[in-house]
Amino acid sequence: MKKYLNIYKVTLINELQYISDIILGFLSFVVMIFIFLNLWNYMYDDPSSLIEGFSKSQMIWYVIITEMIWFGTRNKTLINQITDDIKSGSIAYTLNKPYSYAIYVIVKNFGEITIKFLFYLILAIAVGLIFVGPIDFNMSNILMLIPVFLLSFIINACIRIIISMLSFYVEDAAPFHWLYDKIILVIGTVFPIELFPKFLQPILKFTPIYVVNYGPSKLVIDFSMNSFFTILMAQILYLIFVIILLSLIYRKGVKKLNVNGD
């Protein structure tokens, strides 16, 4: 366990080099939020009305939180590391170290996104307070939100790695990442599940959207003990499922590994 902590520490230190990159990314975040702010201002002609149970400020805060998860946790490592390692052959150095390669990539990812996420968290709160103003939020909920957010990140990382590991089988996993990107971004980030047609909603609840970004964001804007336990339960089940899938794909894939050249 200690070694994984060390991998986390080293990547964290490494990432301090890139703080200016993170700050540059803020710009696109603010632009995104500004667009949705205008969109929802237009949709809610009466500020006190509700759309599918969401007030205007809840709706905008929802987008702020999902965008924060999107920007704050998006990381090259999850998307490119495995493909790059296989293509360049540097997997030869990581595979014969006494750690699990999959856990190594996940831990490395967390080392890299920690600072980025904290920055986006501060930015998101600031943007929300300035543009929308505070919403009904009980500070004691934070304790329950932490595990939900952590699980969301871990599940997201596992799914990304499962997709990346497809490069053991196909030459490039990029198209599958693109597909996942679009599902998360278009369906999960922009609108809450409630806004989709009734027949779609149960299906959407089985997709990663529910556990990765809808769940945590919904709990921030509209907390209830009931939905907390439902989402937490769903996340735990999802986590078990992706871990089993991951280890299956990894075990089979690593045997197919093909490292050419010197």
Binding site: K2, K3, I7, N96, V259
Partner: protein, 325 residues
């Protein structure tokens, strides 16, 4: 005691074959064709503890594939591998504690960190106590002369400095076997020499078994007592360095500088390698013609300078690669 035992090792790669051009690419999309490449065919050998062994061969001979199977990165199709009593396919993590690898063309160090931080990191990966890591770093700092740059980020190091750090990072956990895959590639002669001395010293002090691949004949000649040559996935020679040289010692190179022009033709056991009138280079096969018989063909009074030498190891290896015996 054998630290590596390999029996009847085979590995076949399936490689996609594509016809040329755009239409060929479309065809391969619809109906991909695969070609089987036998990278390693029935290789068997043993390595004893403390040996420095050269595992060489031309490009594409199957050297790296074999190393990668020995270190557990690739799975073999058939045959058995036993490294330190461990099957690399089944217990890759356990094996990792016993072996170290340096791939001259790849990087494992974290570029933003200093060598010192890197070593601490790699030490902790192998579950070493902090005090043990410190002790090891101190030791290696002296042996590998790292003092000057141990606190400079790796990205600012020269290639020679970096390779030294790469080797140290692979040694931090006291591996019993060190796999070196072209450790001196791209280095200047002085640094090469330096690294060879260090490898030798390490072999002596820690009794580390060293398994080396290299295209640099100097590496092989200066370091190794035993040579395995592979070509097209098969072992073509497995012998001691002395035997290898002795086997080809019957051929001598005579270089002559003459006062007057000589006219000499290829004859029994003598091959003219170079004839520039005053300067001559001959190869004499002493099994067919003795040196003295060869020299009788030349007027001794005309010789300004003479040099008789062995065939260089590089040529010997070249001829083995080409399949000449």
């Amino acid at each position: 005691m054998n630290v590596i035992e390999v029996k009847n090792l085979c590995k076949t790669f399936k490689v996609k074959e594509k016809e040329k051009g755009f239409i060929g690419s479309i065809k391969s999309l619809i109906k991909p064709k695969y070609k089987k490449i036998e990278a390693v065919k029935d290789i068997s050998f043993d390595v004893e503890k403390g040996q420095i062994i050269a595992f060489i061969g031309p490009n594409g001979a199957g050297k790296s594939t074999t190393i990668k199977m020995l270190t557990g990165i690739l799975y073999n199709d058939s045959g058995t591998i036993n490294v330190m009593g461990i099957n690399p396919n089944k217990k890759r993590k356990k094996l990792a504690y016993e072996i170290g690898c340096v791939f001259g063309q790849k990087e494992q160090l974290w570029t933003h960190l200093t060598p010192y931080d890197n070593f601490k990191f790699f030490g902790s990966i192998y579950d070493l106590e902090n005090s043990v890591i410190e002790k090891k770093i101190k030791e290696f700092k002296e042996i590998f002369e790292l003092d000057e740059f141990i606190n400079t980020p790796v990205r600012n190091l020269s290639l020679g400095q970096r390779i030294r750090c790469e080797i140290v990072a692979s040694l931090i956990h006291d591996p019993k076997i060190l796999f070196l895959d072209e450790p001196t590639i791209g280095l200047d002669p002085i640094v090469k020499e330096n690294i060879r001395t260090l490898i030798k010293r390490m072999n002596k002090e820690y009794k580390t078994t060293i398994f080396l691949t290299s295209h640099d004949v100097g590496d092989i000649e200066k370091l190794c007592k035993r040579v395995i040559i592979v070509n097209k996935g098969e072992i073509v020679l497995d012998d001691s360095m002395e035997n290898l040289k002795y086997h080809y010692l019957n051929k001598k190179i005579i270089e002559l500088k003459m006062k007057e022009k000589v006219n000499l033709d290829d004859s029994k056991g003598i091959t003219i390698l170079k004839d520039k009138g005053y300067n001559l280079k001959l190869e004499v096969d002493t099994k067919k013609t003795s040196i003295s018989d060869a020299l009788k063909l030349i007027d001794a009074n005309n010789i300004i300078d003479i040099n008789i030498s062995n065939v260089p190891l590089e040529d010997i290896i070249k001829s083995i690669y080409k399949g000449e015996k």
